[in-house]
Symmetry: C2
Subunit: 347 residues, 2 copies
Amino acid sequence: MKTTTIKDIARALNMSTSTVSRALRDSYEINPATKKLILDYAEKMHYSPNPIALSLKESRSKSIGVIVPEIANNFFSQTINGIEAVAAEYGYHVVIFQSHESYEKEVINTQHLVSRRVDGLLVSLSSLTTDTRHFEELVERGLPVVFFDRIPKNIRTFKIIADNFLGSYQATEHLLEMGCRKIAHVTSPSWLSITKERLGGYQQALEKFGVPFQENYIKYCEHGGMVTDEIETAVQQLLDLPAPPDAIFTASDRITTGCMSYLRRQKLRIPEDIALVGFTNIAVADLLDPPLTAVTQPAFEMGQLATELLLSLIQNPEQEITNEIQCLKTTLTVRASSVQQATWRPS
Amino acid sequence: MKTTTIKDIARALNMSTSTVSRALRDSYEINPATKKLILDYAEKMHYSPNPIALSLKESRSKSIGVIVPEIANNFFSQTINGIEAVAAEYGYHVVIFQSHESYEKEVINTQHLVSRRVDGLLVSLSSLTTDTRHFEELVERGLPVVFFDRIPKNIRTFKIIADNFLGSYQATEHLLEMGCRKIAHVTSPSWLSITKERLGGYQQALEKFGVPFQENYIKYCEHGGMVTDEIETAVQQLLDLPAPPDAIFTASDRITTGCMSYLRRQKLRIPEDIALVGFTNIAVADLLDPPLTAVTQPAFEMGQLATELLLSLIQNPEQEITNEIQCLKTTLTVRASSVQQATWRPS
DNA sequence: ATGAAAGCGCTAACAC
DNA sequence: GTGTTAGCGCTTTCAT
């Protein structure tokens, strides 16, 4: 598509490109009459500055890269909404890549984005990422990077997370208050930050209630639930225990729905046979059978905050990183999946 | 972040930039020894070509723009997956904008993407778009544009849709076979292509069964369900009819869940009091209460196909547009929301 | 086999 | 108030 350039305008109006450039940027040095002439002509020709030329000149792309495990996921698509909202406001555009929970894809995505010359990076680690040197190196080379949700240890930069510990504590406490004592936890891989944080909250709640922690009630899904099989195996192993759980606390969108689906296929009644609470942002929690008790994260706000920090880092890369980790509150919404009809009345 | 340029390499190795450039592109004219020297040094310095410089030179950005109503939506996030898969394969990156079902935002997004110099555009119209001149003009100016799902009339370019007519026909036929005779249809605004196509299939099924079409069983949601209120008003109006419907056929993710949620709050039993079938790609249809009968679109494939056509158009803008509209098959999955227990047995 | 120079679109330092 | 020029990183034509 042929587009008008400053040069075209200059030639048509018989002046130099710098005059045109200055007029378009509304410089005070340009004669108002000339300015009007140029502006009118530019308007007429649909002139719009070429951002690529500008990027080249100013060696910045005005774009930020985002790497998430997957887009088709309530939590991440909500986060992306927040990211886009802030980015757009500051004139940045957003290039999104998916790791599909694969370490290799994450590394390749990173290389792509760097070679694309994004001005900064927003990352939530894939479930199979244990080695984060590909990011460390970038941070050392001075590229602004902000992590959210699944964050690395030992990389000194901003990180935004939900209060996974407290969210998980509250969910577990709720199950305990409902009378459950054999609470299983089906979660993401053990090495992920969110896994550790959530496991911590779970343990602390147990402790408060004097319920001993049992290792075999914890099941890790390596692929974060991307592989249906791993969820079903985990749940079946739980059901096969000598003392099968009376409740399951699940740690992500996919694990939660996968788990619920499997329990139903096994004809287990929720919550009568087994209670269920999910750490999930699924949109239709109250339309499920039964309505699902859920801990939700402020996904949109997390995306916003992460982007604001990234942009501030882009504008001032030398700034001191205080408040390295910021924690946003989760919300526990109690629904029927964790509450025996007899004992429960809506508040 | 300081990156290595061809110039840096040239200076370091004491040769000209053209030699370096040629070596990096593996030109036959370069002495193998020199070539190796350059390649090794480039490797060592993490050289990667600056795509911005390339874009400027070749006046193409190797990026495509996508405008969808919203990302946090099963259908569109699945489509985007398909888009990204194909784009990545061809070395293109994808810039996504959301219209949030607003005509004004759609126009602004379009301008943004054009001024960003995307090489092509992939669009699904917002529910409030009745005037498509902003796209017509681009197509006339020679920008490759491909539409999917919600497509305009009278713009001569490729369009990908699901077989909305047949999908809708089958859904309605199924309800009729289940014995429903008062079938309401809650759908998107009347002017959208998908609305017309789906209404057409609905009508044809009624006709086949000799059931008269009743205008007051059709409810349009102007904002495509983005506003919860419009859905609830629509459903309530249906329930208030002298002969309230015995079934509702809903036309999108949001309308479907909004409708289901309202019916439940009104303590209507599905399907005993009223059957429900949704034209929706919601992931957890079988976990809902009751499991939801749904017509699903091949969203991923639609994204793939649309992108392939767009890229072909980018590579050859002058090509003749044959097969202007391509139609992919939908799938009807029957679940409990449309089937009385007594009469139904799982196949 | 290698180098010099122009040009992609734009800005800004430096003339005049 | 306006023009000339160099340069952002890269490719490519035209020398040599």
